[in-house]
């Protein structure tokens, strides 16, 4: 288990103040750090995990569920991401793994792997489409949808929390690139 002494800084913290000055209707902001656990297992285990976490995981493909600062993202037919904003990863992981004792599943703490960006504004979908080939219309990508996809050269988890608000969860080493990509895109649109 990771020592609490090992702290890390958000890979995006230097980016926040370095945006373009171009007027844009789309805003970029760094999302708060969160505890993030990747779960893989069958139905019985995911139900137990959801009951402990306090959020019922979606069994439907490409959907997330949220209660307060806690959310569960469908990643694959047997794979979910549990996210708890501003919570201690060690405590969240400890509680989850205790609740899953005896279940056939895997649980991995990936809290330090990725950082989050909120892309908000009436042209947020257009900005994302500069590098993401998905159809981001409300019909094809409704509020409550999430999926791993690509943006430019990076792989990331994209979700839509409101009509005009998307969240991007991207691995640390790609985070500055994605931020700059989106920042440039929003200055063009």
């Amino acid at each position: 288990m990771l020592s609490p002494a090992i702290m890390r800084s958000n890979a995006l913290s230097p980016m926040q103040s370095s945006g373009t000055t171009a007027a844009s209707t789309t805003s970029l902001s760094v999302l708060p750090d969160a505890a993030k656990l990747v779960f893989r297992g069958k139905t019985e285990a995911i139900e137990a995990a959801g009951a402990h976490f306090g959020v019922k995981p979606s069994l439907e493909a490409c959907r997330f569920a949220a209660v307060g600062g806690r959310s569960v993202y469908w990643l694959g037919p047997d794979e979910w991401l549990f996210q708890a904003v501003n919570e201690n990863p060690i405590e969240v992981f400890g509680g989850m793994s205790a609740a899953l004792q005896g279940q056939a599943c895997s649980l991995v703490d990936v809290s330090h792997r990725s950082d989050g960006i909120a892309v908000a504004g009436p042209t947020a979908a257009l900005v994302l489409n500069h590098g993401c080939p998905l159809d981001l219309s409300l019909k094809a990508f409704p509020v409550g949808m999430c999926t791993r996809t690509v943006l430019g050269k990076a792989s990331l988890l994209l979700s839509r929390s409101e009509e005009h608000v998307f969240h991007v969860d991207v691995w640390r080493s790609f985070a500055p690139y994605v931020w700059q990509f989106l920042d440039e895109a929003r200055s063009l649109s």
């Binding site: 493909a61 490409c62 990643l75 694959g76 037919p77 794979e79 080939p133 998905l134 999926t147 791993r148 996809t149 690509v150 792989s155």
Partner: protein, 97 residues
């Protein structure tokens, strides 16, 4: 951009997928009983189909799952995608399954 129908996520852009080569190649149950030529054939020899070809794809930047696709190699049209463990549809079995 070409759309590929992931059996889990639905139609998605080609850029999210990775090709995994010919499908339905079973690993020999007892490799030790094979000759070197037979083992080499299992490892390396693949069909070079002109027409309908059953192959593996992975939704690498999506759900991450492998699945199968029946693709026409002359037109690049994917006739059908289906999950691992399933067989190609009878109407598409003209080519080697």
């Amino acid at each position: 951009m070409l759309l590929i129908n992931c059996p889990y996520c639905g139609p998605r852009p080609e850029a999210e997928f990775a090709n995994g080569g010919q499908a339905h190649i079973a690993r020999p149950a007892d490799p030790m009983s094979l000759t070197d030529d037979e083992w080499a054939a299992y490892l390396y020899m693949r069909d070079n189909t002109k027409g309908l070809h059953h192959e593996r794809w992975r939704h690498a930047n999506g759900c991450g799952r492998f699945f199968n696709a029946s693709r026409d190699t002359t037109t690049d049209v994917i006739k059908r995608t289906y999950r691992m463990g399933e067989r190609p549809e009878a109407e598409h079995q003209g080519a080697k399954p």
